[in-house]
Subunit: 327 residues, 2 copies
């Protein structure tokens, strides 16, 4: 089964840091709208699917395509968002990650982790594998901050082909200064790194990962590197974990997915999606580095392939869904 | 797996109608506290387990005993309560059932049902049987109102040995007058009966029951008769449904469990619990008609028996848990 964990951080309101929404204010709607779109023709909380400022559709369209093809179960988890999705979801918290330049990001990290551990423990009794995706605007900045605090010279990806690495660096350095932390200083204090610089999604996925007893597929790009690094720093053996992501993440030269995954020692699966033949500009642009991953897209393809569907099948279904949206 | 569905209705604030709380105001805490107690030594939202005004412990102690013995998975669902439980739970709604003497009980019945159907559909992909318990103070009054509207001359049970049937009748008659409805008049309009006189738990359990494709064990007493009657009125075949309840419900002479179950045509399982040898007055009083059922107690015993535990094992575990509470 698949979980889609929703998080917000105040960092997504910084102009230019995230394009997981048509404008910074709309990133508040992105996680619930992504989740709702999986189950319905349109989101409920807002009358349009999440798009980049240039109009590229959310990767939830890939997750939805796989879900409709392969009919695996999906459960939505609200780790901590501005708004509740208007569909059934596991409620963990309604508080979002704070702006870590000004204050501790997750004062309630422990509470989120405790609740998520209980969730993971109960899931262990029902299924032997979980695929965990996420929707967290600006989540690559919190992930990079956590990785830096743990000592990884990592660059996380971005939903934009122009990865705002200079802005991310400035924001992270301001956060490190506020907390009085140097690069790598929290290598042995992963929970402090999470609390100071993380986001609710990271705390929730970490909690579920710690208590779930079966195999865990971390469905995402560089954000799931941060989860893997936190697990490793907590001395968890990574052999029951793997990351599932998309080709667009692995090929992203502005980030360090493969290098950092190897440093951490976590395996990964790569969904070989190809949108170059799409009839829609919004989807062809995925090949130019827009969007790339999110809402567990890579993990959803992993599950669809297990049920016998190919990346080509997924692509065709994505085309159908997009056609429905634009006509 | 087991679901515990939480609901509140404003009716529980009427003095004398419910003893699922030390006083009417405390019935607001009962559903979340019941759910929390299953997973922890004490509830989180309040520093004591729910008790009757005379101090009898919540039937959640039976559910918890079975859960700890047989280790089946439990998932908590907030159908509509005053307060959210401080544990992970599926969020359906935060609005409670209104006082049906004054207004329509569930203006959002459809929304609750739609969300619950989605939940049930996803659960169908994971498990082949679900056991659905509930915690809903004053839920026997809403259940009886629904049964009357559907044309069943039923008397629902009560957590008190002095079933307040005169008060229930007066409240229901006032509600029928407000809505301009006669006994049996909604036999062909079950969704109107639910909306006018029901509670969020009934709407949620009905929604899950409609979409879940496997076997459904309705874990409760006379409230689950109302769910069964609604299903029947919606022309659902009842062969994949059964009620699981306790001996104390079936033996309750102030109610009509067996007679009404037969009229509806729903099968039932009876947990043969016996607390007469308890060292604690609070538990021995279950034999005098206090508490009887709730939080899916009968269904939890059903699951424990499937895993090889006897009613005697459950009783011993309940004794242990109660000893922990009082010492």
């Amino acid at each position: 089964m698949m979980l889609v964990v929703l998080g917000n951080t105040e960092l997504s309101l910084i102009d230019g840091i995230s394009i997981a929404g048509a404008n910074p204010e709309l990133t508040k709607f992105t996680p619930p709208a992504d989740a709702e779109y999986i189950f319905y023709d349109k989101p409920k909380i807002i009358d349009a699917i999440p798009v980049t400022p240039q109009g590229h559709p959310t990767p939830a369209i890939i997750t939805k395509a796989c879900y409709e093809l392969a009919k695996f179960p999906i459960s939505v988890v609200r780790a901590g968002t501005f708004l509740a999705p208007l569909i059934p979801h596991s409620h963990i918290s309604d508080s979002v990650g704070r702006d870590f330049r000004k204050t501790t990001a997750l004062p309630n990290a422990e509470e989120i982790m405790d609740k998520s551990k209980l969730l993971g423990r109960e899931l262990s009794k029902i299924v032997s594998e979980i695929v965990i995706g996420e929707s967290t605007p600006a989540g690559t900045t919190t992930a990079q901050a956590v990785l830096w605090a743990l000592g990884y010279k990592a660059k996380t990806s971005s939903a934009s082909p122009k990865n705002p690495q200079e802005l991310k660096r400035a924001v992270i350095e301001e956060g490190f200064k506020r907390a009085g932390v140097e690069f790598g200083e929290l290598a042995d204090e992963p929970l402090k790194a999470l609390k100071e610089f993380g986001d609710p999604m990271l705390a929730c996925v970490l909690g579920i990962s710690l208590s779930f007893e079966g195999n865990v597929v971390l469905a995402g790009g560089t954000q799931m590197l941060a989860v893997s690094a936190l697990l490793k720093a907590l001395n968890v053996k990574l052999n029951r974990f793997k990351i599932a992501t998309t080709r667009w993440i692995v090929e992203d030269k502005s980030a360090t997915f493969e290098k950092t995954a190897e440093e951490i020692g976590v395996e990964y699966y790569v969904a070989q999606l190809d949108f170059s033949e799409s009839e829609f500009n919004g989807l062809r642009d995925y090949e130019k580095g827009f969007v790339k991953e999110g809402v567990g897209a890579g993990g959803a393809v992993y599950l669809a392939e297990k049920k016998g569907f190919s990346c080509e099948d997924v692509f065709k279904k994505v085309e159908d869904l997009y056609r429905k949206l634009v006509t």
